[in-house]
């Protein structure tokens, strides 16, 4: 296209060419000075934004810090309460100890039933044999752990050993006394001799 158009250019009348050139070169009216935005509101806006931002950040940070302290406080409270709950739960469990319940029941005069009969209500029947609740089925209460057998044996052995030692000591004492007596006798008889 440009090849086809190129030869035309020189054909243009110089007048026209002149005209165009002139039009192009015509001094454009000086651009109107850009409308001056009032300076003050802008400065105020920017300052406001800046101050607002800074203050907001400060407030935000402070409140975060504040809530961090509060969190720590509440956390501590939660820990204390949890520990308290655990302590109470532990007390409850200790009260549920079968040993304790058995002891309390015994204090109230309760016993383990020897044998119970069962009622079948629809058939109006009694199954099994009821027996008077005496103490025979109630295992005795013992201290938490009665002395183990091995400890009892050890104690017995110790007692026996102690007794044997005592006996031996007594025997030795007697022997010494007798020897002393004999000695004395001998010396006295010797003197007599």
């Amino acid at each position: 296209m440009s090849i086809a158009a190129a030869p035309q250019a020189p054909v243009r009348s110089p007048d026209r060419a002149n005209e165009t050139t002139q039009t192009r070169l015509t001094a454009v009216p000086a651009p109107l000075p850009a409308p001056m935005a009032p300076r003050l509101p802008f400065v105020v806006l920017v300052s406001m934004l800046l101050i607002g931002g800074v203050v907001g950040l400060l407030v935000f940070n402070t409140s975060m810090q504040q809530s961090a302290f509060q969190e720590a406080r509440l956390q501590e409270q939660a820990t204390t309460l949890a520990a308290r709950e655990q302590a109470l739960d532990g007390e409850l469990k200790k009260m549920e100890d079968p040993h304790k319940i058995a002891a309390k029941a015994k204090d109230l005069g309760m016993v383990v039933p020897q044998n119970a009969a069962m009622l079948r209500v629809p058939e109006a029947k009694i199954e099994g044999e009821a027996a008077a609740a005496d103490r025979s089925a109630t295992p005795p209460l013992h201290p938490k752990v009665a002395k183990p057998y091995s400890v009892l044996v050890a104690e017995q052995k110790a007692a026996e050993a102690a007794a044997a030692k005592k006996k031996a000591a007594e025997l030795a004492e007697k022997k010494r006394a007798r020897e002393a007596a004999e000695e004395q006798q001998r010396t006295s008889s010797g003197e007599a001799r």
Binding site: T79, A83, Q86, G90, P98, A137
Partner: protein, 607 residues
């Protein structure tokens, strides 16, 4: 700062084109170019110091200072995982954890007030005054344990109060607390936790299952002391993984009753020790496994080490006549005998190079097989068992679970002793027929008897409800319990009826004391000589036992009681029979099992 001073010096001549006004001053300070040069040198020196420092900080060791700066305010706290609880079948805690603290002291700070602080601690924490005083005064130490495993509330309160009263140098640290609210109830199974780890029982065997994994939290704190979190700072958190609970098949209240009843029987018969097992017939769940003597899990140190586990699992012994039940059940299963098979039982029987005798003197006796069981005749049993072909008895006993561990999950369990096929010989077999030359643990024996109760199907006994993996990586529990048929249903029910005659036959029965009024009960006595571990011989002491189940025609519970070395010379019927009766009666009542209402067996025992 230094730079600015230098600059001021340098600028000064420019600000004062002074030579005009005061030529003398210029001369005093020297010519301009000298002052400039001195100034530049100073600047260069200062700058090179800065440069050197820069290279040192950024080039040689760039991270350590950054790390130090970060560490200044970073707090890393351990988030403790809670150890799982050990629960009974109803969810009652047998062992549970709670927050505990250790109270520590810095003797350097406590030394001056030691007597006052020791008195204070004795009052608040119940520690011994003298030993606390010694710790508080310890020279050259900055760390002393005052008391470990104190409940958190108590420890915190005490240390706070100490602070208020002006005592310095006390603080607390985490020390989780393990509670055993029931003391010795099931302590033989549960075991206990020492200060630094599990030491016995399920606590040790299932430590990995129970332990859990501690997490930790790392964050910037306003100060390392207060630990207040700094918002928007570093915050790395790994949540702790709590341990798993372990639910047992044990029934706590039944366990208590069994333990107390057993203790009473052991003490009354002046015996050395005893054990009792209660098993749910239909599920193989162990409802109670009692040992006496046992220990208090809250104070394990008060008992010798040998008692801090379950002897019912770890101790093996010769089962004695209870074993006859298994011998006979196999014979019935093979169709070699029937309960009414007639036997002429002589007073003595030659086996190998020794004679076998019965527990009572007698001439020629006419007993049925049921009578042999009821009267517990060794000779009768051996005569009947001679009908076995080689190897058959061993196969049956092995199928009943003898000679192998029951797989409850406790590593302390002993497998017992069942002679290998190679070592098996006829003379030994005759003795095995009635429970000698074989050793078992109490749970093995219970599971074997339970096979008869459960219509001939053996169920692996289990102690764990559901399933759990122990430290050896073995999964155990009710979910994994296998069921295997050992003898036919008919053989099992015939055996059960013969065992009923042990209790209800007025003439030949050996254990009338084991009866539970209103119920049909099957059982078998056992009185075995004990093998002394030192001389490897029978030392004249005995193990008396009684195993059985009820109701005979629809069994719900299998109970087995064994008592070692009763000092009163009693046998299986007199010593363990009443214990069996009490435990069975309690269990039937507790679980609301009605009597079956059928007629008790009247199988003939003699002819």
């Amino acid at each position: 700062m230094a730079q600015r001073q230098v600059k001021r010096k340098v600028r000064r001549p420019a600000r004062r084109p002074a030579p005009r006004a005061t030529p003398k001053a210029t001369q005093r300070r020297g010519p301009v170019h000298i002052r400039l040069r001195v100034g530049f040198i100073l600047v260069a020196m200062v700058l090179s110091v800065f440069g050197g420092r820069l290279v040192q900080l950024q080039g040689i060791d760039p991270h350590s200072y950054a790390a130090m700066a970060a560490a200044e305010n970073v707090v890393d706290v351990v988030l403790p995982a809670e150890r799982g609880e050990i629960l009974d079948r109803d969810g009652e805690a047998l062992a549970d954890s709670s927050d505990g603290l250790m109270v520590l002291a810095d003797p350097k700070q406590t030394k001056k007030d030691a007597p006052a602080i020791a008195a204070f601690l004795a009052k608040e924490l119940g520690v011994d005054y003298a030993s606390a005083l010694a710790k508080l005064r310890k020279d050259g130490s900055r760390f002393q344990y005052i008391k470990r495993q104190v409940p958190a509330t108590q420890a915190t309160a005490a240390v706070e109060k100490a602070g208020k009263e002006g005592y310095q140098g006390l603080w607390t640290s985490r020390d989780p607390l393990r509670n055993y609210p029931n003391g010795d109830v099931a302590a033989n199974l549960v075991g206990f936790l020492g200060n630094d780890g599990p030491l016995a029982g399920l606590e040790a065997a299932f430590d990995k299952h129970l332990a859990g994994k501690d997490g930790h939290a790392e964050y910037d704190a306003t100060s390392p002391v207060s630990g207040t979190r700094m918002p928007l700072g570093t915050n790395n958190r790994v949540d702790p993984v709590d341990g798993n609970d372990l639910t047992l098949t044990i029934d706590r209240d039944l366990q208590y009753y069994v333990q107390q009843t057993l203790m009473d029987a052991v003490q009354k018969s002046r015996a050395e020790s005893g054990m009792a097992v209660v098993m749910d017939t239909q599920t193989g769940e162990i409802l109670s496994l009692a040992d006496y003597p046992t220990f208090d899990a809250r104070d394990p140190a008060a008992s010798p080490k040998s008692l801090r586990g379950s002897n019912a699992l770890s101790n093996v012994y010769e089962p004695g006549s209870v074993q006859k039940v298994l011998t006979v059940a196999g014979l019935l299963d093979q169709g070699l005998v029937s309960p009414s098979t007639r036997l002429k039982v002589p007073g003595s029987y030659r086996s190998g190079d020794a004679d076998i005798h019965d527990w009572y003197e007698h001439g020629m006796e006419k007993l049925t097989l049921a009578g042999v069981i009821a009267k517990s005749s060794n000779i009768g049993t051996v005569m009947a068992a001679n009908k076995y072909e080689d190897g058959q008895l061993r196969d049956y006993l092995s199928a009943f679970g003898q000679g192998r561990r029951t797989g409850l999950g406790l590593d302390t369990e002993s497998a017992g002793l069942l002679a290998s096929p190679e070592a098996w010989n006829p003379a030994d077999e005759d003795r095995i027929d009635f429970g000698q030359s074989i050793s078992v643990n109490a749970v093995q024996m219970t599971a074997a008897l339970n096979t008869i109760a459960n219509g001939g199907v053996r169920i692996d006994p289990s102690l764990i409800a559901g399933n759990a993996t122990n430290n050896s990586g073995i999964e155990v529990g009710t979910d994994t319990a296998d069921r295997t048929r050992v003898v036919s249903e008919e053989a099992a029910s015939q055996t059960a009826e013969m065992m009923e005659r042990v209790i209800n036959d007025p003439v030949n029965g050996t254990a009338k004391q084991a009866a539970v009024p209103g119920y049909r009960v099957s059982g078998k006595t056992g009185t075995a000589q004990r093998v002394n571990s030192e001389c490897k011989c029978y030392d004249g002491t005995t193990t008396v036992s009684f195993g059985g189940f009820a109701p005979t025609d629809d069994p719900r519970f299998t109970v087995y009681v064994a008592i070692h070395n009763p000092g009163n010379g009693g046998g299986g019927g007199t010593v363990t029979g009443p214990v069996f009766s009490q435990i069975m009666s309690f269990a039937l009542r507790r679980y609301g099992v009605p009597p079956t209402g059928t007629e008790p067996s009247k199988m003939p025992t003699g002819w």
